[in-house]
Assembly symmetry: C2
Homo-oligomer: 350 residues x 2
């Protein structure tokens, strides 16, 4: 059947997983993480410019599907993301995602991109950005408890952005730790595989938790967290899913992305709804203190926020310009005369 | 740079605008509208199975970008749609859209589809489905005020689903009326181009309003609506955008899709928030009366609801099976070992 070729207004750049891998490898992961962290930081600095809303979640017994929209008044972005812990057992990703940027002025999409890889990268970049403002100065050693899909990205982000040189790994599944250690073997990081969470946190200035079970878990107990430590809690990110014992929260200074969302999804769902927390953007813009002294326990209660995805998509959009790491997708109808959508069909049939 | 081919779990069927045109023309528009109306009706009958939420809208001075999610517990769907009336003047569509179906059990997308054409089709199919339950029996003549992109689809849906044989067209821009009349010239409909809205509504048992201006407009005044008429108000679909004079609403029996959304977006934003309305699904399942007598004015205050997009996507998913009217899109990362997202990148680099 003869169909006329799509017009220029109908085409939207699409970054597939293959294209994203090409782009990431071409830029190099450490450089990409550092550059992406700059985009995320830049957008945190203009926090007030963004429309912010807690993500729109569809929960089921087995997981969650979420839409995360935001807009800075010029560009709109949203991410589709799922979280299904049992997927691992079926050979699927726990988290997959894709996202879109669009022009606020005319509503036309500007970019469609895979975001499974991109979410892993932006989550790690955000963690390391937060740690640069909250962790003890010149940290050397980070423990990572939970050695799943996010683990290596965290390690490389803290190396590239915070200067960490030693990673201490622990997972309840030793195969996960072996996988992460092998992947990091040529990273320049000193990698120590540990047999317990207690062993992993020894000497660590930063403790990252990124486990995936959808339950109230206690990955860290109070006695495991020494004074002066920075906690980067990545895994507790939906209702009913936490990683830290409540007592740790009560003696930490807690930093969050967007309070209304973190109250529902973060570690602080264990606390009173009026427990004091500080939004990270205030620390970044300098209107709230970050780390004040060497004994303070700081906690970044990270759940992932829409502006971070916006920043990551904005970065990808800038970086694919002039490359071949995308394809033009015929996503939008583009009739010769815009009111004549039906005529476009008629002419296609002719 | 060598990159391994995407695995089967990474691929999502994508229906482009070109593919959608091929599919629509292969099925034939009247048959497609009737079949799609059956899917929409089927999903209205199981209304209680759906997660329902008013759409998530990002408003700007020039338009709106919306996400419309829903789920029946087995399948999740959402639509991205914009509405920018000024786009017409720049050679763009007022409304463009795309949508996704996903598996609730594992969160993986099942279908990505253009929805600019599909929204036009589902809007018309829903209007005609509502009229089959609300309009006077055996209607012959419909007036359509507003002859833009939606107009011909409305005409063909009412022909295919309600048996209408005469369409009376009016638009403030005579070129729009000429365009619609030309497009409908071989439809089998008797088409009458009118010089005023008053002329268009003469003898019409059904009056469809589908204008696009984002303002409180008065396309119909009270004296233009005779007893027994069915009003199909399609164009008033966001805050500050209405088409009917309030007096018409006050003497109509009003039917809506999803009350909380229509209170914000529909004609009834002009009324008290507790003004009685009936949800269409109740009429379809038989638990609320539709048209009761020959003098009643019925009004379908249509704004478009997420379940209708879900039904339309479900229909497309069923109809592309076994055809070539889609392409496989490499949207999802699919590492050999699901926890080894980073290893996938490493192996791609090797």
């Amino acid at each position: 059947m003869p169909i006329t070729a799509p017009g220029p207004l109908s085409l939207v750049p699409f970054v597939s997983v293959q294209h994203m891998m090409q782009l990431v490898l071409e830029i190099g992961i450490p450089r990409l993480l550092a550059e992406m962290a700059s985009y995320i930081e830049e957008d945190f600095r203009r926090w007030k410019a963004f429309d912010k809303t807690p993500r729109v979640a569809a929960h089921s017994a087995e997981g969650v599907i979420e839409l995360m929209p935001t807009s800075d008044g010029v560009t709109y972005g949203f991410k589709y993301v799922n979280g299904h812990p049992k997927n691992i057992r079926e050979g699927r990703q726990t988290v997959t995602a894709f996202g879109v940027l669009a022009n606020v002025g005319n509503g036309y999409p500007l970019l469609l991109s895979e975001m499974t890889l991109l979410t892993a990268l932006r989550t790690a970049a955000t963690s390391a950005l937060a740690a640069r403002h909250l962790a003890p100065p010149n940290p050397r050693t980070m423990a990572i408890i939970g050695n799943g899909a996010q683990c290596e990205f965290q390690a490389l982000a803290f190396q590239a952005i915070c200067g960490v040189d030693t990673i201490r790994l622990y997972d309840i599944d030793p195969a996960a730790t072996r996988k992460a250690a092998a992947n990091l073997s040529d990273s320049g990081l000193s990698v120590v595989a540990c047999r317990s969470a207690e062993e992993a946190v020894e000497t660590a200035e930063i403790i990252t938790t990124c486990t995936a079970d959808k339950q109230y878990a206690t990955i860290l107990t109070d006695n495991m967290v020494g004074s002066g430590v920075h906690l980067n809690a990545v895994g507790g990110d939906c209702p009913g899913k936490t990683e830290l014992h409540r007592d740790i929260l009560l003696r930490s200074d807690i930093f969050v992305e967007y309070t209304p969302q973190t109250r529902i999804e973060g570690e602080i769902q264990q606390l009173d709804p009026d427990h004091h927390v500080t939004e990270l953007w205030k620390v970044i813009e300098g209107s709230a203190p970050g780390r004040r002294d060497a004994t303070q326990v700081t906690l970044f209660d990270s759940v992932g926020f829409a502006t971070e995805d916006f920043s990551a998509l904005r970065y990808i959009r800038d970086r694919i310009a002039g490359t071949t790491h995308f394809q033009a997708l015929d996503l939008l109808a583009d009739p010769d005369e815009p009111r004549d959508l039906y005529g476009m069909l008629r002419r296609a049939a002719a």
